[in-house]
Symmetry: C2
Subunit: 200 residues, 2 copies
Protein backbone atom coordinates (compact mmCIF):
# COMPACT_ATOMS: atom_id res chain seq x y z
CA UNK A 1 0.00 0.00 0.00
CA UNK A 2 2.69 2.47 0.94
CA UNK A 3 5.92 2.48 -0.90
CA UNK A 4 8.89 1.59 1.24
CA UNK A 5 11.97 3.05 -0.34
CA UNK A 6 14.70 4.63 1.63
CA UNK A 7 14.88 8.32 2.23
CA UNK A 8 17.86 9.88 3.90
CA UNK A 9 16.26 11.69 6.82
CA UNK A 10 19.62 12.93 8.10
CA UNK A 11 19.24 16.24 6.29
CA UNK A 12 16.07 16.75 8.27
CA UNK A 13 17.88 16.48 11.60
CA UNK A 14 16.43 18.85 14.13
CA UNK A 15 18.17 22.09 14.98
CA UNK A 16 17.52 22.02 18.69
CA UNK A 17 18.67 25.15 20.37
CA UNK A 18 16.39 27.11 22.63
CA UNK A 19 15.09 29.49 20.03
CA UNK A 20 13.10 31.63 22.45
CA UNK A 21 16.29 32.51 24.32
CA UNK A 22 17.86 33.91 21.15
CA UNK A 23 14.75 35.81 20.15
CA UNK A 24 14.66 37.49 23.55
CA UNK A 25 18.40 38.23 23.40
CA UNK A 26 17.96 39.54 19.87
CA UNK A 27 15.29 42.04 20.83
CA UNK A 28 16.94 43.07 24.10
CA UNK A 29 20.09 43.78 22.12
CA UNK A 30 18.16 46.69 20.52
CA UNK A 31 17.41 48.09 23.98
CA UNK A 32 15.96 47.29 27.43
CA UNK A 33 12.37 46.08 27.50
CA UNK A 34 9.80 44.48 29.78
CA UNK A 35 8.45 40.97 29.32
CA UNK A 36 5.14 42.44 28.29
CA UNK A 37 6.77 44.59 25.61
CA UNK A 38 8.76 41.60 24.38
CA UNK A 39 5.56 39.61 24.01
CA UNK A 40 3.98 42.41 21.99
CA UNK A 41 7.09 42.94 19.90
CA UNK A 42 7.23 39.24 19.05
CA UNK A 43 3.53 39.21 18.15
CA UNK A 44 4.03 42.15 15.81
CA UNK A 45 7.21 41.03 14.11
CA UNK A 46 8.51 37.47 14.35
CA UNK A 47 5.04 36.25 15.32
CA UNK A 48 4.27 34.92 11.86
CA UNK A 49 7.19 32.47 11.92
CA UNK A 50 7.92 32.16 15.62
CA UNK A 51 5.47 32.80 18.46
CA UNK A 52 5.40 32.24 22.24
CA UNK A 53 2.92 32.59 25.10
CA UNK A 54 3.49 35.18 27.80
CA UNK A 55 3.93 32.46 30.43
CA UNK A 56 6.83 31.03 28.47
CA UNK A 57 8.41 34.44 27.94
CA UNK A 58 8.30 35.41 31.63
CA UNK A 59 9.73 32.11 32.84
CA UNK A 60 12.45 32.06 30.18
CA UNK A 61 13.48 35.62 31.10
CA UNK A 62 13.82 34.64 34.77
CA UNK A 63 15.93 31.64 33.79
CA UNK A 64 18.09 33.81 31.56
CA UNK A 65 18.63 36.21 34.45
CA UNK A 66 19.79 33.29 36.61
CA UNK A 67 22.18 32.36 33.82
CA UNK A 68 23.53 35.91 33.69
CA UNK A 69 22.40 36.66 30.14
CA UNK A 70 20.09 39.50 31.16
CA UNK A 71 19.56 41.64 34.26
CA UNK A 72 16.34 43.22 35.49
CA UNK A 73 15.16 46.15 37.57
CA UNK A 74 11.71 47.47 38.47
CA UNK A 75 10.88 50.83 36.97
CA UNK A 76 11.31 53.80 39.35
CA UNK A 77 9.00 53.85 42.36
CA UNK A 78 6.60 56.51 41.02
CA UNK A 79 5.43 53.89 38.53
CA UNK A 80 2.75 51.96 40.36
CA UNK A 81 2.73 49.25 37.69
CA UNK A 82 5.24 46.56 38.50
CA UNK A 83 7.18 46.85 35.28
CA UNK A 84 10.32 44.70 35.30
CA UNK A 85 12.76 46.06 32.77
CA UNK A 86 15.20 43.57 31.29
CA UNK A 87 18.61 44.57 29.96
CA UNK A 88 21.00 42.34 28.04
CA UNK A 89 24.37 41.73 29.73
CA UNK A 90 27.79 41.45 28.08
CA UNK A 91 27.53 37.71 28.53
CA UNK A 92 24.14 37.76 26.79
CA UNK A 93 25.51 39.79 23.87
CA UNK A 94 28.38 37.34 23.53
CA UNK A 95 26.02 34.36 23.47
CA UNK A 96 23.79 36.01 20.85
CA UNK A 97 26.73 36.81 18.59
CA UNK A 98 28.19 33.33 18.92
CA UNK A 99 24.85 31.83 17.97
CA UNK A 100 24.51 34.12 14.95
CA UNK A 101 28.08 33.25 13.89
CA UNK A 102 27.36 29.52 13.90
CA UNK A 103 25.66 28.72 10.60
CA UNK A 104 22.66 26.43 10.62
CA UNK A 105 23.42 23.38 8.52
CA UNK A 106 20.10 21.56 8.60
CA UNK A 107 16.61 22.29 7.44
CA UNK A 108 13.59 22.18 9.61
CA UNK A 109 10.77 19.91 8.54
CA UNK A 110 7.31 21.45 8.23
CA UNK A 111 4.72 20.52 10.84
CA UNK A 112 1.34 21.23 9.34
CA UNK A 113 -1.73 19.70 10.99
CA UNK A 114 -4.06 20.51 8.14
CA UNK A 115 -2.07 18.32 5.76
CA UNK A 116 -2.51 15.39 8.14
CA UNK A 117 -6.27 15.80 7.75
CA UNK A 118 -5.95 16.00 3.98
CA UNK A 119 -3.71 12.95 3.88
CA UNK A 120 -6.42 10.83 5.48
CA UNK A 121 -9.37 12.41 3.65
CA UNK A 122 -9.68 9.68 1.04
CA UNK A 123 -12.55 8.10 2.98
CA UNK A 124 -14.39 11.36 3.64
CA UNK A 125 -17.38 12.81 1.86
CA UNK A 126 -15.81 15.04 -0.84
CA UNK A 127 -18.41 17.71 -0.15
CA UNK A 128 -17.25 18.03 3.45
CA UNK A 129 -13.64 18.17 2.35
CA UNK A 130 -14.52 21.02 -0.03
CA UNK A 131 -16.22 22.90 2.78
CA UNK A 132 -13.15 22.57 4.94
CA UNK A 133 -10.92 23.73 2.09
CA UNK A 134 -13.14 26.79 1.68
CA UNK A 135 -12.70 27.65 5.37
CA UNK A 136 -8.94 27.41 4.97
CA UNK A 137 -9.08 29.65 1.91
CA UNK A 138 -10.91 32.31 3.87
CA UNK A 139 -8.46 32.10 6.77
CA UNK A 140 -5.36 32.22 4.57
CA UNK A 141 -6.70 35.18 2.61
CA UNK A 142 -7.16 37.18 5.77
CA UNK A 143 -3.65 36.25 6.93
CA UNK A 144 -2.25 37.49 3.63
CA UNK A 145 -3.95 40.82 4.13
CA UNK A 146 -2.38 41.22 7.56
CA UNK A 147 1.10 40.54 6.16
CA UNK A 148 0.62 42.98 3.30
CA UNK A 149 -0.40 45.70 5.73
CA UNK A 150 2.68 44.96 7.82
CA UNK A 151 4.87 45.24 4.75
CA UNK A 152 3.37 48.63 3.84
CA UNK A 153 4.07 49.77 7.39
CA UNK A 154 7.75 48.76 7.20
CA UNK A 155 8.20 50.73 3.98
CA UNK A 156 7.01 53.86 5.77
CA UNK A 157 9.77 53.37 8.35
CA UNK A 158 12.47 54.14 5.78
CA UNK A 159 14.74 57.17 5.90
CA UNK A 160 12.62 60.35 5.53
CA UNK A 161 14.56 61.64 2.48
CA UNK A 162 15.97 58.58 0.75
CA UNK A 163 13.33 56.09 1.83
CA UNK A 164 16.16 53.65 2.53
CA UNK A 165 15.71 50.95 5.09
CA UNK A 166 18.27 50.13 7.76
CA UNK A 167 19.93 46.70 7.74
CA UNK A 168 17.59 45.68 10.53
CA UNK A 169 14.55 46.73 8.53
CA UNK A 170 15.81 45.03 5.38
CA UNK A 171 16.01 41.71 7.18
CA UNK A 172 12.66 42.26 8.82
CA UNK A 173 11.11 42.91 5.42
CA UNK A 174 12.80 39.80 4.08
CA UNK A 175 11.29 37.53 6.71
CA UNK A 176 7.91 39.11 6.15
CA UNK A 177 8.37 38.43 2.45
CA UNK A 178 8.59 34.73 3.30
CA UNK A 179 5.29 35.00 5.14
CA UNK A 180 3.68 36.56 2.10
CA UNK A 181 5.17 33.99 -0.26
CA UNK A 182 4.13 31.16 2.04
CA UNK A 183 0.53 32.37 2.13
CA UNK A 184 0.47 32.83 -1.64
CA UNK A 185 1.80 29.31 -2.12
CA UNK A 186 -0.73 27.96 0.37
CA UNK A 187 -3.60 29.59 -1.48
CA UNK A 188 -2.40 28.20 -4.81
CA UNK A 189 -2.25 24.78 -3.21
CA UNK A 190 -5.77 25.15 -1.81
CA UNK A 191 -7.06 25.96 -5.29
CA UNK A 192 -5.29 22.93 -6.69
CA UNK A 193 -6.69 20.81 -3.86
CA UNK A 194 -10.23 21.96 -4.63
CA UNK A 195 -9.73 21.01 -8.28
CA UNK A 196 -8.51 17.56 -7.32
CA UNK A 197 -11.35 16.93 -4.87
CA UNK A 198 -13.96 18.20 -7.35
CA UNK A 199 -12.59 16.14 -10.20
CA UNK A 200 -13.78 12.84 -8.82
Amino acid sequence: MFIHYHIDMSILTEYTVAMLKYILLGFLDYGPMTGYELKQTIDNSTGHFWHAHHSQIYTTLRQMEKDGLVSSVFKSSEDALRRRIYTITESGKKELMEWLDTPMEEIQPLKEDFLVRMFFSGKRDPQKVLEELAIQQKLHKSTSKVYEKMQDAICHYGHPQTGNLSDQQKYWKLTLEMGIMYEKMYQEWLEKAIEVVKGK
Copy 2:
Protein backbone atom coordinates in the same frame (compact mmCIF):
# COMPACT_ATOMS: atom_id res chain seq x y z
CA MET B 1 -22.67 37.77 47.08
CA PHE B 2 -21.76 35.89 43.93
CA ILE B 3 -20.69 32.34 44.06
CA HIS B 4 -17.45 31.67 42.26
CA TYR B 5 -17.86 28.21 40.91
CA HIS B 6 -15.77 26.34 38.48
CA ILE B 7 -17.14 24.95 35.26
CA ASP B 8 -15.54 21.70 34.25
CA MET B 9 -15.05 22.20 30.54
CA SER B 10 -13.78 18.69 30.09
CA ILE B 11 -17.31 17.33 30.09
CA LEU B 12 -18.30 19.75 27.34
CA THR B 13 -15.52 19.24 24.86
CA GLU B 14 -12.67 16.82 24.82
CA TYR B 15 -10.72 18.60 22.15
CA THR B 16 -7.33 17.12 22.85
CA VAL B 17 -5.89 17.39 19.40
CA ALA B 18 -3.10 14.89 19.73
CA MET B 19 -2.10 14.67 16.12
CA LEU B 20 0.08 11.62 16.50
CA LYS B 21 -2.89 9.62 17.73
CA TYR B 22 -4.85 10.39 14.57
CA ILE B 23 -1.91 9.64 12.31
CA LEU B 24 -1.51 6.23 13.93
CA LEU B 25 -5.25 5.57 13.74
CA GLY B 26 -5.25 6.73 10.12
CA PHE B 27 -2.56 4.29 9.08
CA LEU B 28 -3.88 1.41 11.19
CA ASP B 29 -7.24 1.92 9.50
CA TYR B 30 -5.60 0.67 6.29
CA GLY B 31 -4.50 -2.49 8.06
CA PRO B 32 -2.66 -3.92 11.09
CA MET B 33 0.95 -2.87 11.52
CA THR B 34 3.77 -2.89 14.04
CA GLY B 35 5.17 0.23 15.68
CA TYR B 36 8.32 -0.14 13.65
CA GLU B 37 6.36 -0.27 10.39
CA LEU B 38 4.33 2.75 11.45
CA LYS B 39 7.53 4.69 12.04
CA GLN B 40 8.81 3.77 8.60
CA THR B 41 5.50 4.50 6.94
CA ILE B 42 5.38 7.94 8.55
CA ASP B 43 8.96 8.68 7.48
CA ASN B 44 8.14 7.74 3.91
CA SER B 45 4.81 9.51 3.57
CA THR B 46 3.64 12.13 6.08
CA GLY B 47 7.23 12.65 7.24
CA HIS B 48 7.66 15.85 5.25
CA PHE B 49 4.86 17.62 7.09
CA TRP B 50 4.52 15.57 10.26
CA HIS B 51 7.21 13.41 11.84
CA ALA B 52 7.69 11.57 15.15
CA HIS B 53 10.45 9.68 16.94
CA HIS B 54 10.10 5.95 17.54
CA SER B 55 10.01 6.47 21.32
CA GLN B 56 6.95 8.67 20.94
CA ILE B 57 5.24 6.22 18.60
CA TYR B 58 5.72 3.22 20.89
CA THR B 59 4.51 5.04 24.01
CA THR B 60 1.53 6.56 22.22
CA LEU B 61 0.50 3.15 20.87
CA ARG B 62 0.58 1.66 24.38
CA GLN B 63 -1.54 4.54 25.66
CA MET B 64 -3.99 4.09 22.80
CA GLU B 65 -4.26 0.41 23.66
CA LYS B 66 -5.11 1.33 27.26
CA ASP B 67 -7.76 3.68 25.88
CA GLY B 68 -9.22 0.88 23.75
CA LEU B 69 -8.48 2.52 20.39
CA VAL B 70 -6.16 -0.25 19.23
CA SER B 71 -5.36 -3.81 20.26
CA SER B 72 -2.08 -5.67 19.93
CA VAL B 73 -0.76 -9.19 19.66
CA PHE B 74 2.72 -10.63 19.22
CA LYS B 75 3.31 -12.34 15.92
CA SER B 76 3.13 -16.17 16.04
CA SER B 77 5.77 -17.87 18.15
CA GLU B 78 7.92 -19.10 15.25
CA ASP B 79 8.86 -15.49 14.71
CA ALA B 80 11.76 -14.93 17.05
CA LEU B 81 11.53 -11.16 16.61
CA ARG B 82 9.19 -9.64 19.16
CA ARG B 83 6.91 -7.98 16.64
CA ARG B 84 3.87 -6.46 18.28
CA ILE B 85 1.12 -6.09 15.71
CA TYR B 86 -1.40 -3.33 16.32
CA THR B 87 -4.96 -3.45 15.01
CA ILE B 88 -7.48 -0.61 15.12
CA THR B 89 -10.63 -1.31 17.15
CA GLU B 90 -14.20 -0.20 16.38
CA SER B 91 -13.79 2.48 19.00
CA GLY B 92 -10.61 3.64 17.28
CA LYS B 93 -12.34 3.76 13.89
CA LYS B 94 -15.14 5.79 15.40
CA GLU B 95 -12.72 8.27 16.95
CA LEU B 96 -10.82 8.67 13.67
CA MET B 97 -14.01 9.31 11.71
CA GLU B 98 -15.30 11.80 14.25
CA TRP B 99 -12.05 13.71 14.08
CA LEU B 100 -12.11 13.75 10.28
CA ASP B 101 -15.72 14.95 10.35
CA THR B 102 -14.88 17.93 12.56
CA PRO B 103 -13.51 20.64 10.28
CA MET B 104 -10.44 22.57 11.36
CA GLU B 105 -11.28 26.24 11.63
CA GLU B 106 -7.90 27.73 12.46
CA ILE B 107 -4.63 28.06 10.70
CA GLN B 108 -1.37 26.96 12.12
CA PRO B 109 1.38 29.54 12.31
CA LEU B 110 4.71 28.66 10.74
CA LYS B 111 7.59 27.92 13.08
CA GLU B 112 10.76 28.37 11.12
CA ASP B 113 14.02 28.66 13.03
CA PHE B 114 16.03 29.82 10.04
CA LEU B 115 13.89 32.95 9.71
CA VAL B 116 14.70 33.83 13.32
CA ARG B 117 18.38 33.86 12.36
CA MET B 118 17.66 35.97 9.30
CA PHE B 119 15.55 38.41 11.32
CA PHE B 120 18.51 39.19 13.58
CA SER B 121 21.16 39.14 10.86
CA GLY B 122 21.31 42.93 10.43
CA LYS B 123 24.43 43.07 12.58
CA ARG B 124 26.20 40.14 10.93
CA ASP B 125 28.93 40.18 8.31
CA PRO B 126 26.97 39.99 5.02
CA GLN B 127 29.55 37.56 3.64
CA LYS B 128 28.75 35.08 6.42
CA VAL B 129 25.03 35.50 5.86
CA LEU B 130 25.55 34.72 2.15
CA GLU B 131 27.48 31.58 3.04
CA GLU B 132 24.65 30.43 5.27
CA LEU B 133 22.08 31.15 2.58
CA ALA B 134 24.14 29.05 0.14
CA ILE B 135 24.07 26.14 2.59
CA GLN B 136 20.30 26.42 2.81
CA GLN B 137 20.03 26.50 -0.97
CA LYS B 138 21.96 23.25 -1.21
CA LEU B 139 19.83 21.59 1.48
CA HIS B 140 16.52 22.69 0.01
CA LYS B 141 17.54 21.57 -3.48
CA SER B 142 18.25 18.09 -2.22
CA THR B 143 14.93 18.00 -0.36
CA SER B 144 13.15 18.96 -3.57
CA LYS B 145 14.77 16.06 -5.35
CA VAL B 146 13.58 13.64 -2.68
CA TYR B 147 10.00 14.90 -3.02
CA GLU B 148 10.07 14.67 -6.79
CA LYS B 149 11.27 11.08 -6.58
CA MET B 150 8.43 10.31 -4.20
CA GLN B 151 5.94 11.86 -6.59
CA ASP B 152 7.21 9.77 -9.49
CA ALA B 153 6.88 6.68 -7.32
CA ILE B 154 3.24 7.45 -6.49
CA CYS B 155 2.38 7.87 -10.16
CA HIS B 156 3.72 4.37 -10.91
CA TYR B 157 1.29 2.99 -8.36
CA GLY B 158 -1.79 3.91 -10.37
CA HIS B 159 -4.14 1.34 -11.88
CA PRO B 160 -2.17 -0.89 -14.33
CA GLN B 161 -4.42 -0.11 -17.32
CA THR B 162 -5.91 3.30 -16.68
CA GLY B 163 -3.10 4.73 -14.56
CA ASN B 164 -5.79 6.10 -12.24
CA LEU B 165 -4.97 6.71 -8.64
CA SER B 166 -7.16 5.64 -5.73
CA ASP B 167 -8.70 8.34 -3.50
CA GLN B 168 -6.05 7.57 -0.94
CA GLN B 169 -3.29 8.04 -3.48
CA LYS B 170 -4.83 11.26 -4.80
CA TYR B 171 -4.74 12.81 -1.34
CA TRP B 172 -1.25 11.51 -0.73
CA LYS B 173 -0.10 13.10 -3.98
CA LEU B 174 -1.83 16.33 -2.96
CA THR B 175 0.04 16.59 0.33
CA LEU B 176 3.28 15.80 -1.43
CA GLU B 177 2.44 18.57 -3.89
CA MET B 178 2.45 21.00 -0.97
CA GLY B 179 5.93 19.77 -0.03
CA ILE B 180 7.13 20.44 -3.56
CA MET B 181 5.47 23.86 -3.71
CA TYR B 182 6.87 24.77 -0.31
CA GLU B 183 10.40 23.86 -1.36
CA LYS B 184 10.05 25.78 -4.61
CA MET B 185 8.78 28.83 -2.73
CA TYR B 186 11.63 28.49 -0.23
CA GLN B 187 14.21 28.41 -3.00
CA GLU B 188 12.71 31.49 -4.64
CA TRP B 189 12.88 33.24 -1.31
CA LEU B 190 16.51 32.21 -0.81
CA GLU B 191 17.38 33.73 -4.18
CA LYS B 192 15.59 36.93 -3.26
CA ALA B 193 17.37 36.96 0.11
CA ILE B 194 20.75 36.62 -1.59
CA GLU B 195 19.91 39.57 -3.82
CA VAL B 196 18.94 41.69 -0.84
CA VAL B 197 22.06 40.80 1.16
CA LYS B 198 24.34 41.39 -1.84
CA GLY B 199 22.73 44.68 -2.73
CA LYS B 200 24.14 46.56 0.22
